[in-house]
């Protein structure tokens, strides 16, 4: 009984951590630049395909393919920021939604063309497969890895945002971009770096997620709802908000499917609607 509860908690947290990693970039761009980037999932997809390609074609080991996914996705994000996104910061949300949906369609078509419509399979390295038995609970090794890596990244992100000058600049820009600019902070540069980092994280999340979430050209659309969920429920002014939201939603989804499988898919949507009604500004917000 306790063992299964712990097991469910563990699986849910790992799943939530994955959602956070891929979705946090979306929260950052929305909070910072007021930019709704529905193509965010496409960066996750990019990271996923890159990882699969790196391992299958170029024989790069998994752990080395991960930073590759991060870097390339970040660079591509930077490219898009300079060419396309920055024109939309002042436009309405609808315009942003439309443009990024258009981008998503193009990404899906490109992925179908390049890789075909089928699922991608990935061979995890030996040391990351299998199960560990910890105090009577069977823990999946890969999910332990996910949680550990996620925790490290969260700590790193929090340190950057709260302890570095760059982080202070980001916080200032989120609060009031005009005044920050007036104070001499190069808000444009902050935007670029933040967006690139967000896309990089999405790519990393996508690569990590191939094993758990699967990978096919429809990835951006399939999971877009989950990422939006994390952002809508978690709010856009803090890092902790989306984190808690993602973990909560992950656990709710897994627990729901385990304990009430008949209601399976509902739980996550019902939870979201309830949360949005009760706190339309998100779970954790800075006033």
């Amino acid at each position: 009984m306790i063992a299964s509860l712990l097991g469910v908690l563990f699986d849910g947290l790992a799943y939530g951590m994955l959602l956070f990693l891929v979705g946090v970039g979306l929260s950052v761009t929305l909070g910072l630049m007021n930019f709704v980037n529905l193509a965010h999932g496409a960066f996750g997809m990019l990271g996923g395909y890159l990882c699969v390609l790196a391992m299958a074609r170029w024989n790069i080991p998994f752990l080395a393919a991960l930073p590759l996914a991060f870097v390339v996705s970040a660079l591509v994000g930077l490219l898009f920021e300079r060419l396309l996104f920055r024109r939309l910061y002042r436009r309405s949300h609808l315009d942003q939604v439309l443009l990024t949906i258009g981008l998503t369609f193009m990404a899906i078509a490109a992925a179908t063309f390049a890789f075909g419509p089928q699922q991608q399979a990935m061979q995890l390295p030996e040391y990351l497969s299998g199960q560990l038995n910890v105090v009577g609970v069977d823990l999946n090794i890969y999910r332990v890895f996910l949680l550990a890596l996620g925790a490290v990244l969260v700590v790193a992100l929090t340190l950057v945002v709260e302890r570095t000058r760059f982080g202070a600049a980001v916080r200032a820009a989120v609060d009031n971009a005009r005044v920050a600019e007036a104070l001499g902070i190069r808000v444009g540069l902050v935007f670029q770096i933040a967006l690139a980092a967000g896309c990089g994280l999405a790519g990393l999340g996508g690569a990590l997620g191939v094993e758990v979430l699967g990978l096919d050209p429809l990835f951006p659309l399939k999971y877009m709802v989950y990422f939006l969920l994390v952002v809508a429920v978690g709010g856009t002014t803090t890092l902790k908000g989306p984190l808690y939201a993602a973990l909560l939603l992950g656990v709710a989804d897994v627990a729901g499917k385990y304990y009430i499988p008949q209601a399976g898919a509902f739980i996550i949507y019902a939870v979201m609607v309830i949360l949005l009604i009760v706190r339309p500004q998100g779970l954790v917000s800075r006033s």
């Binding site: 949300h93 609808l94 439309l98 078509a109 490109a110 509902f266 979201m272 949005l276 009604i277």
Partner: protein, 330 residues
């Protein structure tokens, strides 16, 4: 507007538009072999018109409008399946059903900003899809309702294999509802909607009951969406849960933007362009179709919104646009 000025005049239908509808009416002779496709264009057009009410005129960002389409489709379908095959009453029942659902969910939708609304509407749409799937003993699930038989329209016109009755039916319903929407859009209520879209804070300050009006328009839009869903169910004599699919909600947004949001004919034009393009281009190569659709959307946004009708208007009114933009500088 003070009452002393008298009730605002709703402009008469200009001759260009009359010609448009007459041409559609002669579709029986102009495209007799494609009446089924034309009916589906009209249904999509009506659905998009209802979406225009909430997005174009009221500024409510929704990605779950298919929920009401689906409710209307199933209301009509279930009635017909259980023996009540009379089309017009089924249509009205469907509209009432969907409208009621719109009223209930309207309270959820008017809270919060763009992103919250987007999420709530998406969640509602997805929830209904899963619910319909769960209740597959009632809805037939993915496989759909079996045994829908429609009685002849007005007791005379049988739904035939060439789609003639279906086309006439869809055209009449679409035209009537279009006239109704037109009236509303040109009324003070309609103008207040535009105000709420552009500056809700100011409207509140002016004393307008913003939430109430948004709920009212949302209910109306839901009812019309339900009617378009019912038309689909009745003319194809089939409903399955794909009427609730997220793809349908996303498609209607694209159709509206392609045609031009906030413009009466935007929905009809957008639906026509999208459906016809999809029908003919998907025969060529479906992968490329999606690619070019994406590129097209990006182009529309970058070059300023308004879709097909907006571009047309801009071509005709360039000077006025220029002056308008200069005035809008902060």
């Amino acid at each position: 507007m003070s009452a002393a000025l008298g009730a605002p005049r709703i402009p008469r239908l200009p001759w260009r538009e009359i010609v448009f509808w007459v041409v559609l009416a002669t579709g029986f002779w102009l495209w007799p072999k494609h009446l089924a496709l034309a009916s589906q264009v009209l249904i999509a057009g009506l659905f998009t018109l209802s979406y225009d009410l909430i997005l174009g005129y009221s500024g409510i960002l929704s990605l779950g409008h298919a929920a009401y389409f689906g409710l209307g489709a199933y209301a009509a379908g279930l009635l017909a399946q259980r023996g009540w095959g009379e089309p017009l009453s089924g249509l009205l029942a469907a509209g009432a059903c969907a409208g009621f659902a719109g009223f209930l969910t309207g309270f959820l939708v008017v809270r919060g900003q763009d992103l919250t609304r987007l999420m709530v509407t998406t969640a509602i749409g997805l929830l209904l899809f899963e619910l319909a799937n769960k209740l597959s003993s009632v809805t037939g699930g993915v496989d759909g309702l079996l045994g829908i038989e429609m009685k002849p329209l007005l007791g005379v016109f049988r739904f035939d294999i060439y789609g003639r009755t279906a086309y006439g039916y869809c055209l009449a319903v679409t035209f009537l509802l279009f006239l109704g929407v037109r009236r509303i859009v040109h009324s003070p209520f309609g103008w207040s909607l535009r105000g709420m879209r552009d500056n809700p804070g100011r409207m509140l300050a002016l004393g307008y009951p913003v939430s109430r009006r948004l709920i009212a328009v949302y209910t109306l839009a839901a009812a019309i969406a339900g009617i378009s869903g019912a038309l689909l169910a009745q003319t194809t004599q089939f409903v399955s849960i794909d009427v609730f699919s997220f793809g349908r909600s996303a498609d209607v947004m694209v159709m509206l933007i392609v045609g031009g949001a906030g413009v009466l004919y935007g929905g009809l034009v957008g639906a026509a362009v999208f459906t016809l393009a999809y029908h003919y281009l998907s025969a060529l190569n479906p992968v490329y179709w999606q690619f070019w659709l994406g590129a097209f959307l990006i182009a529309i946004v970058l070059m300023g919104r308004g879709g097909v009708l907006g571009a047309w208007t801009r071509v005709v009114n360039t000077l006025r646009e220029w002056r308008g933009e200069a005035a809008a500088q902060p």
